[in-house]
Structure formats: structure tokens, C-alpha cells
């Protein structure tokens, strides 16, 4: 039985695994090797490439911005998603509201960006709206701020990310909320626990598992914000939104493959450690 099991496991998994070996794993080993050599001659130079990237201003800026983006947008997305999911869970028929929140996921980035440009350019809809509101209430005059060419571009990206991924997060939270036993909540209610108490003492602790996966998946999706960033501002955007993804792309275009190799190994390594740590942390609970 054991032998048969292993045979069929191989039969089903091996073809795909072969592809992964050829297209991902083996070439990545090559990248690791390259990160210790020069791009042109291939001579071994030890850790020089790594030293070079950590002295590189663009790399440091990109790392800083990417971390900042992640640290800002993931908590915003995760908590906004939970709020919407909690509100939604009060309704029995929630199909079409869920669909509305999910819809941005289906909108191709290129079409979204066209809209964002019309909204956030200097003469765009947002300024028009602000100006009207300001004049109507006599609060301020005309607003002519350029949102994409200045440091606010960072916040446009955060907003765009939340806009796109909120539905995904809501569905995950709803699945988590659905897994909490109604009996437990009912029992707490009978024992006289109020709404807030039930939320803090029962609902939140039971959502820890969901939190783990939601954070990881939000992180995975946060790298795709590059599409919006690139399309609104090109390869060299405002400093505030120059991300690791821009840097990789620019190094690629300029064929600085040695730096790219070192940076790929660093980024991949950090991500893997982060994932494993989070998993460990989560399993301890």
C-alpha cells in the first residue's frame, strides 16, 4: 500500500514538479551562483555584489519605500476588511453586496489607471470636487494640487491597493466569521455578555487563524501594486513611490544582472524567513 501510494504520488505530481525544477528551482540556483560573480566575466568575487547593493542609494530607497508601503497598507486593508465583513455578517442575503466589493478585482489595471489619471491629475475630478466643496462652504479656495507627481502619490497607491483588494479580504474574513460556532456566541449572550464583550472575547480570538492567512495573502497582492505605480508614473516615479519592483525592472532593462541576482536572493530569503516565522508564530498558539 505504502509503495503503491508513493508510485501514484509520483505519477501525479512529477510532471508538474519537473516543470517547476526547469523553470524555477534550477534557474534560481543559477541566480544564487551569479550573485557571487561579476555580470560580465563570471569571475568569483565573493560578497561584493551584496556590498554593492547595500551601498546603493536606489536600493535603500526602494527597500524603505516598499517596507513603508507594506506597513501602512496591510493594517489598513486588514482592518477595513474586518469592519466590512462584520457589518455584512449581520445580513442574511449578502450576495450582491459582496459582488460589488469584489468587482474591482476583475477590473484590468490598465483601465483603472485611465480613471485614476482623470481623478488625480492637477485639473482632475478630485480637485474639482474639493474646489466645489470648498467654495460652497466657504472653507477654502480653488485646489490645484498634483497628486501623482508629488509625495501624495504614495497615498494614491495605498488607496488604489485597498480599493482593489478589499473584496478579497472581506470574503476571507467572512469565511473566518462563518467558522465561529453560533452556539458559543449564543451561550455567551445567555450568560449576559454584551456585544462588545462577545466581539473581544470570542470573535477576535477565533479569527487568529484567518488573520494569519489574510496578512500573508495581502502581502502577496501588495507586490502587484507595481502595475498601478508603473502605469501612472512610469519607470522613474516620484521618490515617495519608488518601489523595489521599479528597481528590479530598471536593473533588468540596464542589464545590471549581478546586482539583480544579489537583490533577488536577499528579497527571496527575507520573504521566506518571514513566511516561516509567521507560520511558526501562528502554530504555537
Amino acid at each position: 500500500m505504502q509503495k503503491k501510494r508513493r508510485k501514484f504520488f509520483g505519477l501525479f505530481v512529477f510532471p508538474g514538479f519537473l516543470g517547476i525544477m526547469v523553470f524555477v528551482l534550477l534557474p534560481f540556483l543559477d541566480v544564487v551562483k551569479r550573485s557571487f560573480t561579476t555580470a560580465v566575466t563570471g569571475a568569483f568575487i565573493g560578497g561584493k555584489n551584496y556590498q554593492a547593493i547595500f551601498r546603493n542609494q536606489a536600493f535603500l530607497l526602494a527597500v524603505k519605500n516598499t517596507i513603508k508601503f507594506t506597513v501602512v497598507c496591510i493594517p489598513v486593508l486588514v482592518s477595513a476588511g474586518l469592519m466590512v465583513a462584520l457589518m455584512l455578517s449581520r445580513f442574511k442575503k449578502k450576495g450582491w453586496i459582496k459582488s460589488i466589493y469584489l468587482f474591482p478585482l476583475a477590473m484590468p489595471t490598465a483601465t483603472v489607471v485611465l480613471v485614476w489619471k482623470l481623478v488625480f491629475y492637477k485639473q482632475g475630478f478630485l480637485n474639482l470636487f474639493l474646489t466645489r466643496a470648498g467654495l460652497d462652504w466657504g472653507l477654502w479656495g480653488e485646489v490645484h494640487k498634483d497628486y501623482l507627481g508629488t509625495a501624495t502619490a504614495f497615498w494614491v497607491l495605498v488607496g488604489s491597493y485597498v480599493w482593489k483588494n478589499l473584496g478579497y479580504t472581506v470574503i476571507l474574513w467572512l469565511a473566518g466569521l462563518g467558522g465561529i460556532s453560533g452556539e458559543m456566541l449564543e451561550a455567551a449572550r445567555v450568560d449576559g455578555a454584551g456585544g462588545w464583550q462577545r466581539f473581544w472575547r470570542i470573535v477576535l480570538p477565533n479569527l487568529k487563524g484567518s488573520l494569519f492567512t489574510i496578512v500573508i495573502l495581502s502581502f502577496l497582492n501588495s507586490f502587484k501594486i507595481y502595475r498601478e505605480a508603473y502605469l501612472t508614473a512610469g519607470a522613474y516615479p516620484d521618490q515617495s513611490m519608488y518601489l523595489l519592483q521599479h528597481l528590479f525592472n530598471n536593473w533588468f532593462v540596464n542589464l545590471e544582472l549581478d546586482k539583480m541576482a544579489a537583490a533577488a536572493v536577499c528579497t527571496g530569503g527575507v520573504l521566506m524567513i518571514a513566511i516561516l516565522l509567521l507560520q511558526r508564530l501562528w502554530e504555537d498558539r
Binding site: 501510494r5 510532471p15 459582496k98 469584489l102 502595475r227
Partner: protein, 295 residues
């Protein structure tokens, strides 16, 4: 008695009012979803002159604000006509996108779905570790694997062909993970019963596994379609020849001078995605839930 009844009604009214407020709070963000779509639709139906009047200030850096009308004064399908009948380039790119998406999804059905079945049914000692590796690979962003993909594609002389986009995507581990979720939900006893009845392993996969676990693989297909229809990083890096590009890269190339055109092209790009979104909605949701399952 009377006061009791009154209180009950009061509570009912309060509940209803609360729900109404909640609904309102939930629907407000929905505006942010609908307005962009309305903007695209109305823009695509304006004639060039009207649209130009509203938005020229944006690209000429004028001092006036942008204007808009959700119902155009002079509705016209002229831009659609131009796009669909007089721009062969657009068709080429549209079919590029279709070809890429369909080839990738077919490849995933052939490789990822059986792999998911293997992981779900024939768990052994080594399989857990391998699965963990798949999960880590699934979470790696494109930028980390960009150079390695480039190296192998260069080695196989696939650069600047559609295969450069297709093969790496076929061996993505995300669909394995999603299909695994579907297969795992099949009760084990069912497979055992089939085995006792003398069914071969392959028969079990085709006759039992695929129909019963279809929610997983269908959700992988739906999420996959939306993802690959929107493909940007890979073609940007690996396709030099612009006639090979997918639609998602063509759109941003349209200049403001042809804004009407850009609106129409956006709507046409949006249509297949919306279509898949609507017919695949249940699977999309299921897929998201599977993506959040841990082993």
C-alpha cells in the same frame, strides 16, 4: 401587557433602522466601484469633440477643471467603430491576450490539477515538505523570480515568444494550492469505497476526483483568468516585439490625443473580465476561501 408589546415593536424598529444605516454605510463605498465604470462607459460613447472639450484641460495642463456628463450630449459609436473595424492592431493584441490566457489555463489544467490530486490523496512522508515548498513558491513575487525566468528562457531561446509568458505561468503553484482545497473536501471513505469496488486510481481521479472536486479547479481557472488577463510584468520584461503584446500593455500606450479611443479600448478590455466575473462568481468566492485555507 400593552407596554410589553410596545417595547417589542420599538426593538423591531430599532433593529430595522440599524440595518438600514448599516446598508447605507456598506453601499457608500460601492459608489467608488460604480463611478469608474460609469466614467469609462460614458466616455466611450462621446464623440471626439465632446470628450476633448471636457478633458483637454487635463493633458494640456490648462487652468480650468475637468468637466463631465454621465449622459453625453452627442452620443456616438464612432470610436467603437474605429476601434473594432479600422484598427487591425487592436485585434491582434486582443487575440494575443486570449491566446496567452487560454494556453496558460489549459497548461495549468494538465499539470497543476493532477499535482493537486497527488498531494490531496497520496500523502506520504515526503509530500508535506514538498507542499510547503509549493506554498513558499506561490508567495514569491514576480520580481524575485524575474532574473531566473529570464536566464532559463534565454537558455531555451524562448525570449520574445509567447511561450516565454506561457511556460512559467503554467508551472505556477497557485492553482495547485487552490485545486488542492477542492480535492481535500472529498470524503476519504468515498475513494476507499471506489477502490473496494475495483476502480483503478486513474479512474478514481477522472470519475470521482474531477467531478467532486471541481470547485477547486474551477476557482483556480476563474482567478487565473482575471490574473492573466491583467498580465503586465512578464510581457513587459520578456516580449520586445510589440505585436506580441497583450491588451493590458497596449492600453497605456494610447495617448491623450486619442482619449476617445482609449475609453473604448478600456471598455472592450473590461468586457471579458466582467463576463468571467459574472459567470464565475461563486467559484471566485470559493477560490478566495481556498486560497486562505492552510493545509
Amino acid at each position: 401587557m400593552g407596554t410589553d408589546k410596545k417595547r417589542k415593536i420599538l426593538i423591531k424598529v430599532r433593529n430595522l433602522a440599524g440595518k438600514g444605516l448599516l446598508l447605507l454605510a456598506l453601499l457608500l463605498p460601492a459608489l467608488l466601484v460604480f463611478l469608474p465604470v460609469l466614467l469609462l462607459l460614458s466616455g466611450s460613447l462621446m464623440d471626439t469633440w465632446e470628450l476633448g472639450g471636457y478633458i483637454s484641460t487635463v493633458f494640456t495642463d490648462g487652468s480650468e477643471f475637468i468637466g463631465w456628463k454621465l449622459v453625453p450630449d452627442y452620443p456616438s459609436f464612432a470610436n467603437y467603430g474605429k476601434l473594432l473595424f479600422e484598427t487591425p492592431q487592436f485585434f491582434v493584441l486582443f487575440w494575443n491576450s486570449m491566446k496567452l490566457v487560454l494556453c496558460i489555463l489549459t497548461g495549468q489544467l494538465l499539470f497543476a490539477v493532477p499535482a493537486a490530486w497527488g498531494f490531496a490523496v497520496y500523502q506520504g512522508r515526503g509530500s508535506r515538505g514538498l507542499f510547503a515548498l509549493y506554498v513558499v513558491l506561490m508567495l514569491m513575487p514576480f520580481q524575485v523570480t524575474m532574473l531566473s525566468s529570464y536566464l532559463v528562457l534565454n537558455e531555451l531561446s524562448l525570449l520574445n515568444t509567447h511561450q516565454a509568458i506561457i511556460w512559467p505561468a503554467v508551472f505556477s503553484t497557485f492553482p495547485v494550492f487552490l485545486s488542492y482545497g477542492g480535492f481535500k473536501s472529498i470524503p476519504y471513505q468515498m475513494l476507499e469505497a471506489a477502490r473496494v469496488d475495483g476502480a483503478g486510481e486513474l479512474t478514481i481521479f477522472v470519475r470521482l476526483g474531477l467531478p467532486l472536486g471541481k470547485s477547486g479547479l474551477l476557482s483556480a481557472m476563474v482567478l487565473g483568468f482575471l490574473e492573466y488577463w491583467n498580465l503586465m510584468e512578464q510581457p513587459m520584461a520578456f516580449l520586445e516585439d510589440k505585436s506580441l503584446w497583450p491588451l493590458s500593455l497596449y492600453l497605456p500606450q494610447i495617448t491623450w490625443g486619442q482619449a476617445g479611443f482609449a475609453f473604448c479600448a478600456s471598455v472592450v478590455t473590461l468586457v471579458p473580465a466582467v463576463f468571467v466575473f459574472i459567470i464565475g462568481q461563486d467559484y471566485l468566492e470559493q477560490g478566495i476561501i481556498y486560497s486562505g485555507l492552510k493545509e
